[in-house]
Symmetry: D2
Subunit: 250 residues, 4 copies
């Protein structure tokens, strides 16, 4: 099978979208999971293996360039000769909801570290690999970025978080325009529901309507759209997409 020699990588694998994307892409490829702590990926790796797939967890803070570099070196040993078909940047961080005058500069820094800076490193590592895969990849090599409502709207009290997410989208647009014509599909997805962070776990979104909060099952559905983006033919790329629960007011 051609696709046997291709793999996918997901940075920020520990969140709902991360886990779901890993499960979905593992149906087609061996999957490498990057997360800050083994606790974030261990159970997902086990879940994938149980389902008959291949998965590998690597520990690296997406904002730590050296750790990310080391992770990519490890991949060469874990999957020798395998090529990169899809890369997903799904890192969250720097979430703060607070009056501006109470925000600390460190909170802005954390948002910028997790979003544009961490992605910058990830993209510089993955794009050369994706370019190499263009001639043989079963689907156009794909780089997917997870965004949020804060990627397009700077709401009151969400300034520092939105700053990171806006910047991330700027990079995504620029890369889509630069690498699309070279055959690499770069796509930015706005997940417009309860924000996918541990902090939001206890929110009651959309008044608790059925399917109104993005549930673990719902993340699986989001992952179907990620997979669809990956399988789009180069004559019909989508560079930006919104995904939200049917009850979401927007």
């Amino acid at each position: 099978m051609a696709s046997k020699s291709f793999y996918a990588i997901i940075s920020g694998a520990g969140s709902g979208t991360g886990r779901a994307t890993a499960l979905r892409f593992a149906q087609a490829y061996p999957v490498v999971l990057l997360a800050r702590k083994p606790e974030s990926y261990n159970s997902i790796v086990a879940e994938i293996k149980q389902a008959g797939g291949q998965a590998f967890g690597l520990t690296a803070d997406a904002t730590d360039e050296t750790a990310v570099n080391a992770a990519f070196e490890s991949i060469k040993k874990i999957l020798p000769g395998s090529k990169l078909a899809a890369a997903v940047y799904n890192v969250n961080g720097g979430f703060a909801m607070r009056p501006f005058l109470e925000l600390k500069r460190e909170e802005l820094d954390a948002s910028l570290d997790a979003a544009p800076k961490g992605f910058f490193t990830f993209a510089q590592k993955t794009l050369p690999l994706l370019l190499e895969s263009v001639p043989e990849s079963p689907h156009p090599p794909t780089l997917i970025i997870s965004g949020a409502t804060a990627s397009i709207k700077g709401s009151a009290l969400f300034g520092s978080f939105a700053a990171g997410k806006f910047a991330l989208r700027a990079l995504g647009q620029s890369l889509a325009r630069e690498f699309g014509p070279k055959g690499v599909h770069v796509s930015h997805a706005i997940i417009d529901g309860a924000i996918d962070t541990p902090e939001s776990k206890d929110w009651v979104a959309n008044n608790g309507a059925e399917d109104g909060k993005i549930s673990p099952d719902a993340f699986i559905k989001i992952a179907e759209t990620y997979w669809h983006l990956h399988t789009q033919h180069r004559s019909a790329f989508t560079q930006e997409i919104d995904i939200r629960p049917y009850v979401e007011r927007y």
Copy 2:
């Protein structure tokens, strides 16, 4: 099979996107094709039948309310007891590229007739049927609207065409917000390549790059994304999407 008792309808079936959508949805449902002239759907109906699917052509000008009403009456006889799973509004018309002071009011009228007015009638006919299908449809009942770059950008010389397409998108947004919470998925897709009209047939888009113009094959790929929209779970709806060739400058 549950889906045996559901059907899809495509208005404006004669264009590249229309044909491709018909072929794709015919893999799952009997398909009703609406077009102004039998020549527009006859060969597609034949193609679908040859592939083992079911298809029916009906002649109706989308801008003629009476003709559209009659078509929906016919469907009840052709597919008795069958329910509507998906409706696609893909009508083009009113394309004019001309200095504003040379435009005739009739050209603006033609654009508004083909876009917001024709869609208004189509949506008033199909939404009650789609609402009825919510409890049993194999996928969330779906109303898809085909837009163009002119749906979001009023370029010089494209004013009258953009007026229709902007208005169509306004209706799409409003319906997505009103009917989404009721379980009907309304989605607006911008096909951002050489415009899908007979008039554009001879354009050499994107300097003739391979896959750079939306070829008949490319329309098939676009239809895959339409099908994906239809199969999205209600916890992960996409209301607006752009689809463009990898070489498209935007």
Copy 3:
């Protein structure tokens, strides 16, 4: 004074923005007011005259091409030899807030008549006059269009109104791009407060906060921004602008 031989015209003079714009532009130019009924402009004409300005009311339904043509013929007699410096399209109509399946096609038609169709006629009459004024006008000849929140967002229940307003903005963008390089400043202003229609008169917007609803005085402030648009130098044109009360949530 050079500006003595220039005039301004306001279509839809009867609303809050229309009246305020007339008063402001009358400080510099004779002003022609177009409205459907004399009651809409009589008191404004009186107000301007009392303040020492010149104003003329003409009765014409903006959606009636023949009536609009006749009005422009009248202007030649009223202000012989005077040139057009600024034209403002401020017509409202077709406002309906209603579930889509209860809307009548006539309501959509009314919205399209008042917005893109009425403006089309107005623009075809005024743009040739504005082009003629480029060499001598004290400020770049200007065509200003009044929009609303519904110009950029199709909210639930506002579909038909938004269809008209979106289409109007499409024309505005196209004309800005076509006529800007010729020296005519086309600008679209979104008045994002309680909608400027007689129907909205009794709304309590923004919980009744001081300056939270667009009061008659507030419209005067909006008119200052319209005047500023008119006086922008051609090296610094604004083609789209939002104007909203400080308490407005958006």
Copy 4:
């Protein structure tokens, strides 16, 4: 005169927009100019004084929190008892136009330092002062941010620059929503012409058309719009505005 006891501050005074804004606001207020080097403000301070205004230059790198803090301490001594009426953040930096895989992480950092980070510090210093001025300021206290086309479009090769500018706009939107209802006008202006940086000085924009590049005179016109933003009444605030030469293609 009430306005005697109010002042304005401009960070990034050395550029075309900075100089022009300083000259314009100096017609109403004493003006404090912040720039990295005295060479950037010395001649502007002289120009303002010659015209009969008051101006003070302070040396501070906008990305250096300590230096900015010191500058604000100095202002208390230079203008004792005076209150802040308007603050303009006009800092450029981190401009790079380069294939993504050749970009260095330091170039992204420089863009983020100059845009969201520098502005964060500036806004945390100025917003408390602007809030204090609400009751007495001759016009609503105003915080204006200078953006660029890269604030809303991530073009190919402009990724790192756009990342900073997008993030800056995110903060601007959030602050507009948080501080508008408190009476402080926060506004983000996109100057959509040849980019206002020393590096762009030699570009031939818009094929050299008259007024096609933003000339020193044109910047004066842009400054008129900044001044207009400052003088908008709180019932008619503009939070985002585009300003571009009449010949600009967009």
